[in-house]
Symmetry: C2
Subunit: 248 residues, 2 copies
DNA sequence: GTACGGTTTTGATATGAATCAATAATGGAT
DNA sequence: ATCCATTATTGATTCATATCAAAACCGTAC
Protein backbone atom coordinates (compact mmCIF):
# COMPACT_ATOMS: atom_id res chain seq x y z
CA UNK A 1 0.00 0.00 0.00
CA UNK A 2 2.84 2.32 0.90
CA UNK A 3 4.31 0.96 -2.28
CA UNK A 4 1.41 2.18 -4.34
CA UNK A 5 1.72 5.66 -2.98
CA UNK A 6 5.47 5.71 -3.57
CA UNK A 7 4.89 4.58 -7.08
CA UNK A 8 2.56 7.45 -7.77
CA UNK A 9 4.77 9.95 -6.15
CA UNK A 10 7.59 8.84 -8.37
CA UNK A 11 5.67 10.27 -11.36
CA UNK A 12 3.80 12.82 -9.35
CA UNK A 13 1.39 14.53 -11.70
CA UNK A 14 1.20 13.03 -15.11
CA UNK A 15 -0.94 9.99 -15.72
CA UNK A 16 -0.51 7.65 -18.61
CA UNK A 17 -3.62 7.23 -20.69
CA UNK A 18 -1.62 5.16 -23.14
CA UNK A 19 -1.11 2.45 -20.61
CA UNK A 20 -4.44 2.70 -18.85
CA UNK A 21 -6.66 -0.32 -19.20
CA UNK A 22 -9.72 1.92 -19.16
CA UNK A 23 -8.68 3.97 -22.17
CA UNK A 24 -11.31 2.33 -24.32
CA UNK A 25 -14.20 3.51 -22.19
CA UNK A 26 -12.81 6.71 -20.67
CA UNK A 27 -12.02 10.03 -22.34
CA UNK A 28 -9.13 8.68 -24.43
CA UNK A 29 -11.74 6.80 -26.38
CA UNK A 30 -12.50 10.02 -28.24
CA UNK A 31 -8.92 11.00 -28.93
CA UNK A 32 -6.78 9.82 -31.82
CA UNK A 33 -3.72 7.84 -30.88
CA UNK A 34 -1.43 10.60 -32.11
CA UNK A 35 -3.30 13.27 -30.13
CA UNK A 36 -3.38 11.29 -26.91
CA UNK A 37 -0.34 13.10 -25.57
CA UNK A 38 -2.29 16.31 -25.48
CA UNK A 39 -4.82 14.72 -23.19
CA UNK A 40 -2.11 13.23 -21.05
CA UNK A 41 -0.55 16.66 -20.77
CA UNK A 42 -3.54 17.99 -18.90
CA UNK A 43 -4.45 14.96 -16.81
CA UNK A 44 -3.28 14.87 -13.26
CA UNK A 45 -2.90 11.72 -11.35
CA UNK A 46 -5.31 12.29 -8.52
CA UNK A 47 -4.72 10.94 -5.09
CA UNK A 48 -6.32 7.92 -3.55
CA UNK A 49 -9.43 8.36 -1.45
CA UNK A 50 -10.53 6.11 1.33
CA UNK A 51 -14.11 5.06 1.76
CA UNK A 52 -16.22 8.01 2.79
CA UNK A 53 -13.72 10.68 1.82
CA UNK A 54 -14.91 13.61 -0.24
CA UNK A 55 -13.52 14.06 -3.72
CA UNK A 56 -15.20 17.46 -3.89
CA UNK A 57 -17.96 19.35 -2.14
CA UNK A 58 -21.09 21.08 -3.28
CA UNK A 59 -20.78 24.87 -3.52
CA UNK A 60 -16.99 24.93 -3.48
CA UNK A 61 -15.27 26.30 -6.59
CA UNK A 62 -15.50 23.98 -9.55
CA UNK A 63 -12.00 23.18 -10.73
CA UNK A 64 -11.89 19.73 -12.24
CA UNK A 65 -13.72 16.73 -13.56
CA UNK A 66 -12.59 13.37 -12.31
CA UNK A 67 -12.42 10.03 -14.04
CA UNK A 68 -12.76 7.04 -11.78
CA UNK A 69 -9.77 4.79 -12.11
CA UNK A 70 -10.62 2.20 -9.51
CA UNK A 71 -13.22 1.95 -6.77
CA UNK A 72 -16.52 3.79 -6.99
CA UNK A 73 -17.97 7.21 -6.26
CA UNK A 74 -21.40 8.44 -5.34
CA UNK A 75 -22.61 11.97 -5.98
CA UNK A 76 -25.41 13.65 -4.11
CA UNK A 77 -27.00 17.01 -3.63
CA UNK A 78 -27.97 18.32 -0.25
CA UNK A 79 -30.95 20.63 -0.19
CA UNK A 80 -31.06 23.62 2.10
CA UNK A 81 -33.17 21.70 4.61
CA UNK A 82 -30.43 19.11 4.80
CA UNK A 83 -32.02 16.31 2.84
CA UNK A 84 -29.69 14.32 0.68
CA UNK A 85 -30.48 13.04 -2.77
CA UNK A 86 -28.03 10.61 -4.29
CA UNK A 87 -27.79 11.61 -7.93
CA UNK A 88 -25.48 8.99 -9.29
CA UNK A 89 -22.98 6.21 -8.87
CA UNK A 90 -19.77 6.28 -10.85
CA UNK A 91 -17.68 3.29 -11.75
CA UNK A 92 -14.22 3.00 -13.27
CA UNK A 93 -13.96 4.74 -16.61
CA UNK A 94 -16.81 7.12 -15.86
CA UNK A 95 -16.49 10.87 -15.55
CA UNK A 96 -17.67 12.71 -12.44
CA UNK A 97 -18.45 16.41 -12.34
CA UNK A 98 -20.24 16.94 -15.64
CA UNK A 99 -23.20 18.42 -13.83
CA UNK A 100 -20.95 21.30 -12.79
CA UNK A 101 -19.52 22.12 -16.21
CA UNK A 102 -19.71 25.80 -16.95
CA UNK A 103 -20.65 26.60 -13.37
CA UNK A 104 -18.64 28.44 -10.76
CA UNK A 105 -19.21 25.87 -8.05
CA UNK A 106 -19.66 22.16 -7.85
CA UNK A 107 -23.32 21.27 -8.16
CA UNK A 108 -22.99 18.22 -5.97
CA UNK A 109 -20.81 16.44 -3.49
CA UNK A 110 -18.78 13.42 -4.54
CA UNK A 111 -17.50 10.85 -2.13
CA UNK A 112 -15.71 7.57 -2.39
CA UNK A 113 -17.83 4.50 -1.73
CA UNK A 114 -14.74 2.39 -1.29
CA UNK A 115 -11.01 2.86 -1.71
CA UNK A 116 -10.94 4.85 -4.92
CA UNK A 117 -8.36 6.37 -7.22
CA UNK A 118 -9.13 9.02 -9.81
CA UNK A 119 -7.61 10.99 -12.65
CA UNK A 120 -8.16 14.70 -12.51
CA UNK A 121 -8.95 16.93 -15.49
CA UNK A 122 -8.60 20.61 -14.61
CA UNK A 123 -11.56 22.26 -16.23
CA UNK A 124 -9.87 25.25 -17.80
CA UNK A 125 -7.36 23.02 -19.53
CA UNK A 126 -10.05 20.57 -20.54
CA UNK A 127 -12.22 23.26 -22.09
CA UNK A 128 -9.24 24.61 -23.93
CA UNK A 129 -8.45 21.18 -25.29
CA UNK A 130 -12.01 20.41 -26.37
CA UNK A 131 -11.87 23.66 -28.33
CA UNK A 132 -8.98 22.21 -30.28
CA UNK A 133 -10.07 18.60 -30.63
CA UNK A 134 -13.52 18.45 -32.22
CA UNK A 135 -13.86 14.76 -31.50
CA UNK A 136 -13.18 15.32 -27.86
CA UNK A 137 -15.65 18.19 -27.74
CA UNK A 138 -18.20 15.98 -29.42
CA UNK A 139 -17.56 13.28 -26.88
CA UNK A 140 -18.00 15.70 -24.00
CA UNK A 141 -21.34 16.75 -25.44
CA UNK A 142 -22.18 13.11 -25.76
CA UNK A 143 -21.27 12.30 -22.18
CA UNK A 144 -23.21 15.24 -20.85
CA UNK A 145 -26.27 14.41 -22.90
CA UNK A 146 -26.00 10.84 -21.65
CA UNK A 147 -26.09 12.16 -18.14
CA UNK A 148 -29.19 14.20 -18.94
CA UNK A 149 -30.82 11.17 -20.47
CA UNK A 150 -29.86 9.00 -17.53
CA UNK A 151 -31.33 11.51 -15.19
CA UNK A 152 -34.55 11.60 -17.20
CA UNK A 153 -34.71 7.85 -17.05
CA UNK A 154 -34.29 8.07 -13.32
CA UNK A 155 -37.10 10.60 -13.10
CA UNK A 156 -39.25 8.24 -15.10
CA UNK A 157 -38.34 5.37 -12.83
CA UNK A 158 -39.15 7.43 -9.77
CA UNK A 159 -42.49 8.63 -10.98
CA UNK A 160 -43.87 5.60 -12.79
CA UNK A 161 -42.31 2.46 -11.44
CA UNK A 162 -42.75 0.29 -8.41
CA UNK A 163 -40.03 -0.47 -5.90
CA UNK A 164 -39.33 -3.81 -7.60
CA UNK A 165 -39.01 -2.23 -11.01
CA UNK A 166 -36.64 0.42 -9.75
CA UNK A 167 -34.36 -2.07 -8.09
CA UNK A 168 -34.40 -4.41 -11.06
CA UNK A 169 -33.43 -1.46 -13.25
CA UNK A 170 -30.55 -0.54 -11.01
CA UNK A 171 -29.24 -4.08 -10.90
CA UNK A 172 -29.36 -4.31 -14.67
CA UNK A 173 -27.66 -0.97 -15.07
CA UNK A 174 -24.84 -2.04 -12.79
CA UNK A 175 -24.64 -5.34 -14.58
CA UNK A 176 -24.12 -3.75 -17.96
CA UNK A 177 -21.55 -1.38 -16.59
CA UNK A 178 -19.56 -4.24 -15.13
CA UNK A 179 -19.78 -6.02 -18.44
CA UNK A 180 -18.42 -3.02 -20.27
CA UNK A 181 -15.32 -3.46 -18.21
CA UNK A 182 -15.12 -7.10 -19.18
CA UNK A 183 -16.19 -8.23 -15.77
CA UNK A 184 -18.97 -10.59 -14.90
CA UNK A 185 -22.37 -9.07 -15.47
CA UNK A 186 -24.07 -11.61 -13.26
CA UNK A 187 -21.74 -11.84 -10.34
CA UNK A 188 -20.52 -8.72 -8.70
CA UNK A 189 -20.41 -6.87 -5.46
CA UNK A 190 -22.41 -3.71 -5.00
CA UNK A 191 -20.19 -0.74 -4.31
CA UNK A 192 -22.90 1.00 -2.31
CA UNK A 193 -24.89 0.36 0.84
CA UNK A 194 -28.60 -0.40 0.87
CA UNK A 195 -29.07 3.06 2.22
CA UNK A 196 -27.56 4.66 -0.87
CA UNK A 197 -29.63 2.47 -3.13
CA UNK A 198 -32.74 3.49 -1.25
CA UNK A 199 -31.91 7.15 -1.41
CA UNK A 200 -31.03 7.01 -5.09
CA UNK A 201 -34.23 5.20 -5.99
CA UNK A 202 -36.49 7.24 -3.76
CA UNK A 203 -37.32 4.36 -1.43
CA UNK A 204 -36.99 3.54 2.24
CA UNK A 205 -34.14 1.25 3.21
CA UNK A 206 -36.62 -1.24 4.54
CA UNK A 207 -38.31 -1.43 1.16
CA UNK A 208 -35.02 -2.09 -0.60
CA UNK A 209 -34.29 -4.84 1.84
CA UNK A 210 -37.69 -6.40 1.37
CA UNK A 211 -37.41 -6.34 -2.41
CA UNK A 212 -34.02 -7.99 -2.24
CA UNK A 213 -35.39 -10.82 -0.19
CA UNK A 214 -38.46 -11.08 -2.40
CA UNK A 215 -36.24 -11.37 -5.50
CA UNK A 216 -34.24 -13.95 -3.65
CA UNK A 217 -37.28 -16.02 -2.76
CA UNK A 218 -38.34 -15.92 -6.39
CA UNK A 219 -34.93 -17.22 -7.40
CA UNK A 220 -34.19 -14.14 -9.49
CA UNK A 221 -31.11 -13.14 -7.59
CA UNK A 222 -28.97 -14.40 -4.81
CA UNK A 223 -27.56 -11.82 -2.45
CA UNK A 224 -25.50 -11.88 0.69
CA UNK A 225 -24.70 -8.42 1.88
CA UNK A 226 -23.19 -6.57 -1.02
CA UNK A 227 -22.37 -9.72 -2.91
CA UNK A 228 -24.96 -10.24 -5.62
CA UNK A 229 -25.57 -12.85 -8.24
CA UNK A 230 -28.14 -12.36 -10.95
CA UNK A 231 -29.67 -15.78 -11.45
CA UNK A 232 -32.38 -14.84 -13.92
CA UNK A 233 -31.54 -11.80 -15.98
CA UNK A 234 -34.56 -12.40 -18.19
CA UNK A 235 -36.84 -12.10 -15.23
CA UNK A 236 -35.19 -8.88 -14.16
CA UNK A 237 -35.64 -7.45 -17.62
CA UNK A 238 -39.27 -8.41 -17.50
CA UNK A 239 -39.68 -6.64 -14.19
CA UNK A 240 -38.02 -3.53 -15.54
CA UNK A 241 -39.86 -1.85 -18.27
CA UNK A 242 -36.97 0.39 -19.21
CA UNK A 243 -33.74 1.92 -18.14
CA UNK A 244 -30.84 1.52 -20.49
CA UNK A 245 -31.86 2.66 -23.98
CA UNK A 246 -28.44 2.91 -25.53
CA UNK A 247 -28.21 5.43 -28.32
CA UNK A 248 -24.56 5.96 -29.13
CA UNK B 1 -51.57 35.00 -40.16
CA UNK B 2 -50.81 34.54 -43.83
CA UNK B 3 -48.95 37.78 -43.36
CA UNK B 4 -46.67 36.31 -40.76
CA UNK B 5 -45.76 33.45 -43.00
CA UNK B 6 -45.14 35.74 -45.95
CA UNK B 7 -42.94 37.86 -43.78
CA UNK B 8 -40.77 34.94 -42.85
CA UNK B 9 -40.57 33.67 -46.35
CA UNK B 10 -39.33 37.06 -47.44
CA UNK B 11 -36.12 36.37 -45.45
CA UNK B 12 -36.36 32.64 -45.67
CA UNK B 13 -33.52 31.22 -43.69
CA UNK B 14 -31.48 33.65 -41.76
CA UNK B 15 -32.69 34.90 -38.42
CA UNK B 16 -31.53 38.09 -36.81
CA UNK B 17 -30.12 37.61 -33.36
CA UNK B 18 -29.14 41.27 -33.34
CA UNK B 19 -32.75 42.34 -33.38
CA UNK B 20 -34.17 39.54 -31.28
CA UNK B 21 -35.60 40.62 -27.96
CA UNK B 22 -34.48 37.33 -26.41
CA UNK B 23 -30.81 37.81 -27.23
CA UNK B 24 -29.99 38.52 -23.60
CA UNK B 25 -31.20 35.13 -22.39
CA UNK B 26 -30.69 32.94 -25.47
CA UNK B 27 -27.45 31.75 -27.06
CA UNK B 28 -26.36 35.25 -28.22
CA UNK B 29 -25.84 36.01 -24.57
CA UNK B 30 -22.55 34.15 -24.77
CA UNK B 31 -21.31 35.71 -27.98
CA UNK B 32 -19.47 39.01 -28.32
CA UNK B 33 -21.27 41.67 -30.29
CA UNK B 34 -18.68 41.50 -33.04
CA UNK B 35 -18.93 37.71 -33.31
CA UNK B 36 -22.69 37.63 -33.39
CA UNK B 37 -22.74 37.42 -37.17
CA UNK B 38 -21.11 34.04 -36.99
CA UNK B 39 -23.97 32.75 -34.89
CA UNK B 40 -26.50 34.33 -37.19
CA UNK B 41 -24.82 32.63 -40.10
CA UNK B 42 -25.72 29.23 -38.80
CA UNK B 43 -29.15 29.93 -37.35
CA UNK B 44 -32.15 29.07 -39.40
CA UNK B 45 -35.49 30.65 -38.94
CA UNK B 46 -37.59 27.63 -38.10
CA UNK B 47 -41.19 27.38 -39.09
CA UNK B 48 -44.18 27.98 -36.89
CA UNK B 49 -45.77 25.04 -35.16
CA UNK B 50 -49.38 24.79 -34.12
CA UNK B 51 -50.41 23.38 -30.79
CA UNK B 52 -49.71 19.68 -30.66
CA UNK B 53 -47.37 19.59 -33.63
CA UNK B 54 -44.05 17.77 -33.28
CA UNK B 55 -40.85 19.78 -33.53
CA UNK B 56 -38.92 16.52 -33.57
CA UNK B 57 -39.41 12.90 -32.66
CA UNK B 58 -37.60 10.47 -30.43
CA UNK B 59 -35.30 8.07 -32.30
CA UNK B 60 -35.21 10.08 -35.51
CA UNK B 61 -31.79 11.43 -36.56
CA UNK B 62 -30.59 14.26 -34.42
CA UNK B 63 -29.95 17.27 -36.61
CA UNK B 64 -30.58 20.46 -34.69
CA UNK B 65 -31.16 22.17 -31.42
CA UNK B 66 -34.04 24.62 -31.27
CA UNK B 67 -34.41 27.84 -29.39
CA UNK B 68 -37.96 28.76 -28.49
CA UNK B 69 -38.83 32.16 -29.90
CA UNK B 70 -42.45 32.36 -28.86
CA UNK B 71 -44.94 29.88 -27.45
CA UNK B 72 -43.84 26.87 -25.44
CA UNK B 73 -42.61 23.33 -25.95
CA UNK B 74 -42.80 20.18 -23.92
CA UNK B 75 -40.37 17.31 -24.27
CA UNK B 76 -41.10 13.76 -23.28
CA UNK B 77 -39.70 10.30 -23.58
CA UNK B 78 -41.84 7.33 -24.40
CA UNK B 79 -40.72 4.05 -22.94
CA UNK B 80 -41.04 0.85 -24.88
CA UNK B 81 -44.22 -0.05 -23.06
CA UNK B 82 -45.73 3.18 -24.29
CA UNK B 83 -45.65 5.18 -21.10
CA UNK B 84 -44.86 8.83 -21.49
CA UNK B 85 -42.69 10.84 -19.16
CA UNK B 86 -42.68 14.58 -19.66
CA UNK B 87 -39.07 15.62 -19.16
CA UNK B 88 -39.31 19.36 -19.50
CA UNK B 89 -41.13 22.50 -20.48
CA UNK B 90 -39.33 25.07 -22.59
CA UNK B 91 -40.16 28.74 -22.72
CA UNK B 92 -38.95 31.51 -25.02
CA UNK B 93 -35.18 31.91 -24.94
CA UNK B 94 -34.60 28.33 -23.84
CA UNK B 95 -32.79 25.70 -25.86
CA UNK B 96 -34.41 22.36 -26.69
CA UNK B 97 -32.49 19.29 -27.71
CA UNK B 98 -29.49 19.40 -25.38
CA UNK B 99 -30.27 15.92 -24.14
CA UNK B 100 -29.51 14.65 -27.63
CA UNK B 101 -26.15 16.37 -28.10
CA UNK B 102 -23.54 14.00 -29.35
CA UNK B 103 -26.12 11.31 -30.05
CA UNK B 104 -27.23 9.93 -33.36
CA UNK B 105 -30.92 10.23 -32.63
CA UNK B 106 -33.14 12.53 -30.66
CA UNK B 107 -33.47 11.30 -27.10
CA UNK B 108 -36.97 12.67 -26.72
CA UNK B 109 -39.96 14.02 -28.56
CA UNK B 110 -40.68 17.73 -28.58
CA UNK B 111 -44.08 19.15 -29.28
CA UNK B 112 -45.60 22.58 -29.26
CA UNK B 113 -47.90 23.31 -26.32
CA UNK B 114 -49.34 26.31 -28.12
CA UNK B 115 -48.61 28.18 -31.32
CA UNK B 116 -44.83 28.25 -31.25
CA UNK B 117 -42.00 29.60 -33.33
CA UNK B 118 -38.42 28.46 -33.04
CA UNK B 119 -34.91 29.16 -34.27
CA UNK B 120 -33.01 26.17 -35.52
CA UNK B 121 -29.32 25.50 -34.87
CA UNK B 122 -28.01 22.69 -37.09
CA UNK B 123 -25.85 20.63 -34.83
CA UNK B 124 -22.84 20.14 -37.08
CA UNK B 125 -22.55 23.87 -37.62
CA UNK B 126 -23.12 24.57 -33.97
CA UNK B 127 -20.41 22.17 -32.85
CA UNK B 128 -18.04 23.67 -35.38
CA UNK B 129 -18.77 27.13 -34.07
CA UNK B 130 -18.39 26.21 -30.41
CA UNK B 131 -14.98 24.86 -31.33
CA UNK B 132 -14.04 28.34 -32.50
CA UNK B 133 -15.74 30.47 -29.86
CA UNK B 134 -14.60 29.38 -26.39
CA UNK B 135 -17.24 31.50 -24.68
CA UNK B 136 -19.96 29.85 -26.68
CA UNK B 137 -18.56 26.43 -25.92
CA UNK B 138 -18.43 27.33 -22.27
CA UNK B 139 -22.02 28.47 -22.42
CA UNK B 140 -23.11 25.22 -24.06
CA UNK B 141 -21.42 23.31 -21.27
CA UNK B 142 -23.16 25.56 -18.84
CA UNK B 143 -26.58 25.04 -20.39
CA UNK B 144 -26.14 21.30 -20.49
CA UNK B 145 -24.95 21.12 -16.91
CA UNK B 146 -27.94 23.25 -15.94
CA UNK B 147 -30.16 20.70 -17.56
CA UNK B 148 -28.46 17.93 -15.63
CA UNK B 149 -28.88 19.87 -12.42
CA UNK B 150 -32.50 20.63 -13.19
CA UNK B 151 -33.13 16.99 -13.84
CA UNK B 152 -31.49 16.06 -10.55
CA UNK B 153 -33.68 18.58 -8.78
CA UNK B 154 -36.65 16.99 -10.43
CA UNK B 155 -35.54 13.57 -9.26
CA UNK B 156 -35.21 14.97 -5.76
CA UNK B 157 -38.66 16.49 -5.98
CA UNK B 158 -40.12 13.22 -7.19
CA UNK B 159 -38.53 11.09 -4.55
CA UNK B 160 -38.70 13.31 -1.48
CA UNK B 161 -41.50 15.80 -1.80
CA UNK B 162 -45.24 15.76 -1.43
CA UNK B 163 -47.68 16.67 -4.15
CA UNK B 164 -48.07 20.17 -2.73
CA UNK B 165 -44.35 20.73 -2.64
CA UNK B 166 -43.90 19.57 -6.19
CA UNK B 167 -46.59 21.84 -7.53
CA UNK B 168 -45.38 24.81 -5.53
CA UNK B 169 -41.91 24.22 -6.95
CA UNK B 170 -43.21 24.12 -10.48
CA UNK B 171 -45.21 27.31 -10.05
CA UNK B 172 -42.17 29.09 -8.65
CA UNK B 173 -39.97 27.82 -11.44
CA UNK B 174 -42.40 29.10 -14.05
CA UNK B 175 -42.70 32.36 -12.18
CA UNK B 176 -38.98 33.01 -12.23
CA UNK B 177 -38.77 32.11 -15.89
CA UNK B 178 -41.50 34.59 -16.75
CA UNK B 179 -39.71 37.20 -14.72
CA UNK B 180 -36.49 36.63 -16.59
CA UNK B 181 -38.37 37.71 -19.67
CA UNK B 182 -39.56 40.85 -17.92
CA UNK B 183 -43.06 39.53 -17.61
CA UNK B 184 -45.17 39.30 -14.51
CA UNK B 185 -43.95 36.64 -12.15
CA UNK B 186 -47.24 36.52 -10.31
CA UNK B 187 -49.75 36.65 -13.09
CA UNK B 188 -49.37 34.33 -16.01
CA UNK B 189 -51.07 31.64 -17.95
CA UNK B 190 -49.79 28.11 -17.81
CA UNK B 191 -48.67 26.88 -21.20
CA UNK B 192 -49.46 23.28 -20.33
CA UNK B 193 -52.50 21.24 -19.37
CA UNK B 194 -53.01 19.74 -15.92
CA UNK B 195 -52.27 16.43 -17.48
CA UNK B 196 -48.78 17.51 -18.49
CA UNK B 197 -48.14 18.96 -15.07
CA UNK B 198 -49.25 15.71 -13.50
CA UNK B 199 -47.07 13.63 -15.78
CA UNK B 200 -44.04 15.85 -15.29
CA UNK B 201 -44.37 15.80 -11.52
CA UNK B 202 -45.19 12.14 -11.23
CA UNK B 203 -48.72 12.68 -9.98
CA UNK B 204 -52.23 11.79 -11.06
CA UNK B 205 -54.23 14.54 -12.75
CA UNK B 206 -56.75 14.39 -9.97
CA UNK B 207 -54.08 15.10 -7.42
CA UNK B 208 -52.89 18.14 -9.33
CA UNK B 209 -56.40 19.42 -9.49
CA UNK B 210 -56.94 18.90 -5.80
CA UNK B 211 -53.75 20.70 -4.86
CA UNK B 212 -54.70 23.64 -7.04
CA UNK B 213 -58.01 23.99 -5.27
CA UNK B 214 -56.39 23.50 -1.89
CA UNK B 215 -53.91 26.29 -2.64
CA UNK B 216 -56.81 28.38 -3.78
CA UNK B 217 -58.76 27.81 -0.58
CA UNK B 218 -55.70 28.79 1.40
CA UNK B 219 -55.48 32.01 -0.57
CA UNK B 220 -52.03 31.15 -1.90
CA UNK B 221 -53.00 31.25 -5.53
CA UNK B 222 -55.97 32.06 -7.65
CA UNK B 223 -56.50 29.93 -10.72
CA UNK B 224 -59.12 29.62 -13.41
CA UNK B 225 -58.18 27.09 -16.00
CA UNK B 226 -54.68 27.92 -17.16
CA UNK B 227 -54.81 31.45 -15.85
CA UNK B 228 -52.89 31.64 -12.59
CA UNK B 229 -52.16 34.34 -10.10
CA UNK B 230 -49.68 33.81 -7.30
CA UNK B 231 -51.18 35.64 -4.34
CA UNK B 232 -48.67 34.60 -1.71
CA UNK B 233 -45.24 33.81 -3.10
CA UNK B 234 -43.80 33.59 0.41
CA UNK B 235 -46.19 30.82 1.25
CA UNK B 236 -45.26 28.95 -1.91
CA UNK B 237 -41.60 29.24 -1.05
CA UNK B 238 -42.33 27.90 2.38
CA UNK B 239 -44.15 24.94 0.90
CA UNK B 240 -41.25 24.23 -1.42
CA UNK B 241 -38.15 23.18 0.34
CA UNK B 242 -36.01 23.53 -2.75
CA UNK B 243 -35.93 23.78 -6.47
CA UNK B 244 -34.10 26.75 -7.92
CA UNK B 245 -30.58 26.84 -6.43
CA UNK B 246 -29.01 29.23 -8.90
CA UNK B 247 -25.33 28.78 -9.40
CA UNK B 248 -24.26 30.78 -12.43
C1' DG C 1 -77.20 28.82 -30.22
C1' DT C 2 -76.36 23.85 -29.56
C1' DA C 3 -73.80 19.74 -29.35
C1' DC C 4 -69.69 17.28 -28.81
C1' DG C 5 -64.92 15.67 -27.26
C1' DG C 6 -61.71 16.71 -24.25
C1' DT C 7 -60.27 18.66 -19.94
C1' DT C 8 -60.92 19.71 -15.13
C1' DT C 9 -62.96 19.13 -10.79
C1' DT C 10 -64.88 16.56 -6.92
C1' DG C 11 -65.95 12.39 -4.14
C1' DA C 12 -65.24 7.46 -2.29
C1' DT C 13 -62.18 3.70 -1.85
C1' DA C 14 -57.96 0.90 -2.33
C1' DT C 15 -53.05 0.26 -2.00
C1' DG C 16 -47.92 0.45 -2.16
C1' DA C 17 -44.60 1.97 0.32
C1' DA C 18 -43.35 4.88 4.49
C1' DT C 19 -42.92 4.82 9.18
C1' DC C 20 -42.40 2.90 13.68
C1' DA C 21 -40.30 -0.71 16.26
C1' DA C 22 -37.37 -4.32 17.11
C1' DT C 23 -34.05 -7.88 16.18
C1' DA C 24 -30.14 -9.80 13.55
C1' DA C 25 -25.99 -9.60 11.08
C1' DT C 26 -21.64 -7.50 9.79
C1' DG C 27 -17.16 -5.54 10.16
C1' DG C 28 -13.78 -2.75 12.29
C1' DA C 29 -11.23 -1.65 16.45
C1' DT C 30 -9.11 -3.10 20.59
C1' DA D 1 -11.52 -13.42 20.30
C1' DT D 2 -14.73 -9.87 21.95
C1' DC D 3 -17.18 -5.55 21.79
C1' DC D 4 -19.40 -1.80 19.74
C1' DA D 5 -21.32 0.79 16.00
C1' DT D 6 -23.15 0.54 11.84
C1' DT D 7 -25.96 -1.73 8.50
C1' DA D 8 -29.48 -4.96 7.20
C1' DT D 9 -33.61 -7.54 7.88
C1' DT D 10 -38.31 -8.52 9.35
C1' DG D 11 -42.95 -7.39 11.18
C1' DA D 12 -47.14 -4.29 12.27
C1' DT D 13 -49.41 -0.14 11.29
C1' DT D 14 -50.34 4.27 8.96
C1' DC D 15 -50.81 7.52 5.28
C1' DA D 16 -50.44 10.00 0.96
C1' DT D 17 -51.73 9.43 -3.30
C1' DA D 18 -53.53 6.34 -6.99
C1' DT D 19 -57.51 4.57 -8.84
C1' DC D 20 -62.30 4.28 -9.89
C1' DA D 21 -66.43 6.86 -10.87
C1' DA D 22 -69.09 10.64 -12.11
C1' DA D 23 -70.27 15.37 -12.70
C1' DA D 24 -69.07 20.10 -14.35
C1' DC D 25 -66.72 22.93 -17.42
C1' DC D 26 -64.65 24.62 -21.70
C1' DG D 27 -63.58 25.54 -26.38
C1' DT D 28 -64.58 24.51 -30.96
C1' DA D 29 -67.31 23.16 -34.87
C1' DC D 30 -71.54 22.92 -36.90
Amino acid sequence: MAQVIRLHQASPLKASCHQCSLSNICLPLAVEENELDRLEDIVQQGRIFNRGEHIFDQSTPFRSCFAVKSGAIKTSIISENGEEQVTGFFMPGELVGLDSMGSKNYACTARALERTSVCEFPIDKLEELTGKLPDLQHHMYHLMSQEIQGSHQLAMLLSKNTAEERIAALLLSLSSRFQRRRMSGTNFSLPMARNDIANFLGLAVETVSRVFTRFQNQGIISARGREVELLDVEALQTVTREFSSQNS
